[in-house]
Symmetry: C2
Subunit: 391 residues, 2 copies
């Protein structure tokens, strides 16, 4: 560990999936020291602790959170646990990074928002790496510099991927447990559109479908209930229209992200950025070519290479944030909150609640077959709903 | 002209656009003799008649239709004239091929349907070439042989293209005149989905937008009213769900046509066919690669190379149909109707009416922001509407 890494918080990771392994590798590459790992079972936790040289392992949540040397909690386990672990961790004074989907519903994400507001000096971010992808960063700069004109007319996104369901029945097979392409990838895309347009989503129309209900591995009593195809349209607060298609019906992974305005358009195709300005050439010109070879030897359909690249850059930025804070600090607190400015790029729990509200509106729209207003619940509403259910 | 071409009907072409020129080339390559050309102005007609060695030119519709030596009318002019020319031509006993969009509304296509029903021995087809594209023919065979399973779950289509608006204000700038990506390309895609699934469309949801209202060439008083972005979803009579995105916001032309079922999927990407069966490999395998180089030296955004390839094959099949009929015939009629069996692949005016009904439902859905039932109007309904408007 280099000297500058001494100021990085020590990390505990929740989750033992392939994605967890890949992210542990990324964290270690960025200089973070992984102190503890939590698994659903002691065996899973022990297996990974040996494989990845992590000193402490457990299957008890509190045992991780109460470890004094741990200052950063990275939550990668089943989404059903995200909210409660995040809220508890913030309450004990730990920085928190949560994988999307952030929670199972708005009630859960709202609790996370409240906890984050209560402890503003702690980092509480989503692990939405796409915001940090070089092509996306360059797309955002180009938009801000007026490359496509004064306003964004259309965002048009398409993701084609293979099945994200593994060989074993898991939370991925049930959208109520956080599974499905809308929860897993839709959350990233909604966030990216929000990030790039700097607009929130006001109304949505969507169709959410599950075409593949059984596979060679998952059949019999247990059927797949999570969506494998979603098409949705969104009206944004600043007048932009967005259209998104997510399909896990093909092989491989292709993501195309088009943004167009009166004077031009920009396209992020996987990790590359293309652009075209009206009345210039007849061809899209390449503005940035992705040459990164970010691979850990492990692969997972939940973490395509551009998502992994983005995540690496995100954790690198996070490390820089902690280093900058440590330099700024001269008093006795080892870790203080990084300044709000440097945090601006990260997806917050407020963003998580907006994403969750959009996803819920898309599901409602698909069920009720109509355009649906996106409604972010407030604390009062949730309390009222709970009391109505009780009496 | 070879001997076997002597039995082909002589042709009159309506229209003088680049597309007309390209199709005249195609017709000539397939052995058809072009006898007459009609243009909006005598000058346009004369110019093309000289360029393409067409003996007769005029700007008067009847003068073309009444020419005795002409037996096949190919209608490629502004869609506002399609229906009246087609109906008149059938009435005089000519075979008719009409470019999509077939007419401006269901009233117009219904008149074409009625005329076609009245003269069943005459060919009355749409020039929907995609049905004849080799990759599509092979996709249809694969579907019928059970490659993707017993039923089609999902059809997912995406077209990305450059602007289809030219340098001059024309019908392409106004959707009411037949312009816009929905009329021009949507018609082909709706037809192809109908053709491949053998299902009709029952309900639709769509968003139809015009983002680019002015260009370097078209500005001032005249604005572009035709759509340049459409996203629509369709429920089909046999349970298939279809999702289509048409966008003319990029450069070049890419068409992806995905069809998936319980046991596999097929993808026509431009002119190539890919396929994948569940539980076989991890990659899509190429089933057919397009090596055709169908080019006339002319290019037009309304006729991307796969559309041109399809059209060539369609006119080649049409020539075969006439030759087969001529061989079958031993009586004195020079041209008789080809048998119904060999006609099955061509898009008929009944198909045109269904396409028009779907397009109208998509526009209604976009305006009223709800799922909309596809209603094919009957003659009685149209008569009733007309009488209500009159009194």
């Amino acid at each position: 560990m280099t000297g500058s890494n001494l100021c990085l918080p020590k990390v505990a990771v929740f989750g033992t999936s392939t994605v967890s392994r890949i992210i542990v590798n990324v964290l270690q590459q960025e200089g973070f020291q992984i102190e503890a790992i939590w698994g659903q079972t002691p065996e899973e936790a022990e297996f990974l602790s040996r494989e990845l040289n992590i000193p402490y392992f457990t299957s008890r949540v509190d045992d991780v959170l109460l470890r004094k040397e741990v200052d950063l909690i990275v939550i990668l386990c089943t989404p059903a646990l995200h909210s409660q672990i995040a809220v508890k961790a913030l309450g004990i004074g730990k920085h928190v990074i949560v994988q999307s989907p952030s929670g199972l519903n708005q009630d859960e994400t709202l609790r996370m928002v409240q906890a984050a507001q209560y402890y503003p000096k702690l980092c509480s971010f989503l692990s939405n790496g796409l915001r940090f992808l070089p092509a996306v960063t360059k797309m955002k700069s180009a938009i801000q510099s007026g490359f496509i004109g004064a306003r964004i007319n259309l965002v048009d996104v398409r993701l084609n991927m293979g099945s994200i369901i593994g060989k074993k029945y898991s939370w991925l097979c049930d959208d109520v447990m956080g599974g499905g392409v809308l929860n897993v990838f839709g959350a990233h895309i909604i966030d990216l559109i929000h990030f790039l347009t700097e607009q929130s989503v006001t109304r949505v129309h969507g169709t959410v479908r599950t075409f593949t209900k059984t596979t060679k591995y998952i059949h019999g009593i247990r059927q797949i209930k999570s969506d494998d195809f979603v098409s949705f349209q969104m009206e944004m607060s600043g007048g932009t229209f967005a259209s998104v298609t997510l399909s896990s019906q093909v092989c491989g992974f292709v993501q195309e992200f088009h943004v167009s305005g009166d004077e031009g358009r920009l396209i992020v195709r996987n990790g590359d950025l293309f652009g075209h300005q009206q009345d210039t050439s007849d061809e899209d010109i390449i503005l940035f070519q992705d040459v990164s070879q970010c691979s850990s030897g492990l692969e997972d359909p939940l973490l395509p290479s551009i998502y992994l690249n983005g995540l690496s850059t995100m954790f690198s930025s996070l490390a820089d944030l902690f280093r900058a804070t440590a330099v700024d600090e001269s008093n006795n607190a080892k870790f203080r909150s990084p300044s709000s400015d440097s945090k601006a790029k990260f997806a917050t729990f407020n963003d998580a609640q907006h994403i969750q509200a959009v996803i819920e509106a898309i599901r409602t729209s698909s069920k009720e077959r109509c355009w649906t207003k996106v409604t972010e619940k407030s604390e009062e509403e949730i309390l009222m709903m709970l009391s109505e259910n009780t009496f």
